[in-house]
Symmetry: C2
Subunit: 207 residues, 2 copies
Amino acid sequence: MSHSNNHVPAIVIGRLPLYLRALTQLASDGRHVTSSQELSEKLGFSSAQIRKDLSYFGEFGKQGTGYEIELLEQALKEILQVHHVWDMALVGAGDLGRALANYNGFEARGFRIACIFDSASSKVGTLINHWRVLPMDALRESVRARKIYLAIIAVPAIAAQQVADELVEGGVRAILNYAPTTLSVPPRVKVFHIDPVAGLQSMTYYL
Amino acid sequence: MSHSNNHVPAIVIGRLPLYLRALTQLASDGRHVTSSQELSEKLGFSSAQIRKDLSYFGEFGKQGTGYEIELLEQALKEILQVHHVWDMALVGAGDLGRALANYNGFEARGFRIACIFDSASSKVGTLINHWRVLPMDALRESVRARKIYLAIIAVPAIAAQQVADELVEGGVRAILNYAPTTLSVPPRVKVFHIDPVAGLQSMTYYL
């Protein structure tokens, strides 16, 4: 198997986590083999699309016998680099930050919250789950010292750019951004936006 | 202005909420006119892309003078049908449901939580923000009686399909799904998935 960051379209990369999620679900149902047809029914992409996406990374399926779930799952984990667990900094200890801190679905899929930051003195020092909330002015040095490359921004829109700047200065290279605003970051830094309202609006168009 | 559901690619529709969000932000900064160039810098899409996307819906910009922010904002709200506020059912009153119930960014962008459901008898009847949590077995009839067409699923993956089935039976036509699983719904029903881990995995590929 070989792959290069330069040649696989970002839209294909964006679908790999969904393939992986479906495979993990099949494996947990005790299944060993699947097909592009079955994945197509589960995910809503065409089976041709799925075969083409996977073909960027090698030959996984056999004509007529389909995909070995465990092998493909492992391959996708390696391609996405989630065969080990990444430490993340969570910035923002409000309702959303709290929900993320208590979410137990991260670790099985390659991620772990390592520290939580907030700017409110009323929150700093309090415990959320088993983390003690750290002050925002420790953010940059803390992520740098711990070699944390991923962060989640769960602060209000107005504070998000400043947080992003400090994360980038601390060496963070990928940001999951829950603030409903576009962040300006250097090209080397990846940002993935989570905006539920944008999702809702893209559906009301059709209603 | 005219538009048809059949002719505009879904990927274009998916970008409109981001244009709208950027325009609203500019307006709140006191601005009156913008350009595809400025929107490009804010959003990271090319200005040609932005002009092409908007041209599906009419002539908004003038050569050399750009877009009138308020006019374009209003037009996008009408296209996305968020010039009025939609009632939503929220299913799941755990940490995530609670964070969503307390989120104050919905209404200005066209949405309002109208009722909250949970299956746990320990949660039913309790207050979250100003909503009293309703029992899951009231879900289908409740959304039908209130003519609610949008819902948010914030329950564990294992319960999500059952909830989706009941929502669809109750007449819901668009679902924002936070459960990390793919839902099977009739083609007329729209689903938008929010899976933060999939977002993280699509970034670790590049690290």
